[in-house]
């Protein structure tokens, strides 16, 4: 599945609902689908706020693929990129006072894998996957 949409906040809901509907073809619980929605919301929100700095005329691309028991999602933007990806993945890190740096923490907690590829001026690609039946979100010292 491929979605491409303008970088406006109203499209965050469109993206998460569409990916969740796509994912519901395999046996996720409602709770797992909620987790997928949060992860998509955070990734797309990051693209709009940080990648494109709220410019409404850019595009975010979301790809999703299903196997028998796994969903893989890729969220891409062509925005300003992240200078220090490792630092951005730290829970306390945010360049915005109210954003709290929780976005990547939620993605990491709710998905089984999370990879972030980015460089200044070269956009950001977030790749996440989630298997069916992996249970509750990880809550542990790695966060």
């Amino acid at each position: 599945m491929k979605l491409e949409f303008l970088s406006v906040p109203a499209n965050v809901a469109f993206a998460r609902v569409t990916v969740a509907a796509f994912a519901s073809q395999i046996d996720y619980t409602l709770s797992e689908l909620e987790e997928i929605k949060v992860a998509v919301s955070e990734a797309v929100g990051n693209s709009i706020i940080h990648g494109y700095e709220n410019a409404p005329d850019r595009f975010v691309r979301v790809y999703a693929a299903l196997t028998r028991d796994t969903l893989e999602i890729r969220v891409e933007d062509d925005g300003k990129g992240i200078e220090d990806v490792n630092k951005a993945l730290q829970p306390a890190f945010s360049t915005d006072d109210e954003r709290l740096g929780l976005g990547f923490m939620f993605m990491n907690s709710f998905m089984d894998s999370l990879r972030v590829e980015s460089a200044p001026g070269r956009g950001t690609v977030v790749t996440m996957s989630k298997r069916v039946g992996t249970g509750m979100a990880k809550v542990g010292p790695e966060q």
């Binding site: 906040p9 109203a10 949060v38 955070e42 709009i48 954003r99 709290l100 976005g103 923490m105």
Partner: protein, 115 residues
């Protein structure tokens, strides 16, 4: 633009904020300005967020709630949360919100505790 689904009621000096629907990036600017206007216009000491009708929340909306917590706590007030649906509670638990905001089963219990 998605309208902020927001109902505000002032009881004594406590502002009760009832929200509904999906809270994400689409509503954060409106929510932030509506809450700040209400907090500034009326002499609000405490806040109660009633999230019983909230079906989804992400970090952008959570940031607005925590930003209002910062404002109220600077005045020496308290911020409480009531009526969490399970999927919303998990997000709040992961975020550490309960370290600074108390949760109560309903508005009346929260009002008694704040008072």
């Amino acid at each position: 633009m998605v309208p902020v689904r927001l109902d505000l009621e002032l009881k004594q000096n406590t502002l009760i904020v009832r929200l509904s629907g999906d809270l994400d990036l689409a509503i954060t600017d409106n929510l932030r300005s509506s809450l700040d206007e209400a907090i500034d216009k009326q002499s609000v000491s405490n806040l109660i967020f009633n999230l019983s009708q909230v079906t989804f929340i992400d970090s952008s909306a959570l940031g607005v709630l925590l930003g209002r917590y910062k404002r109220i706590s600077r005045r020496g007030g308290r911020v409480c949360i009531v009526g969490l649906q399970p999927q919303v509670r998990r997000i709040l638990e992961l975020s550490g919100v309960f370290q600074v905001m108390d949760e109560f089963p309903g508005e009346n219990v929260a009002l008694e505790n704040i008072g």
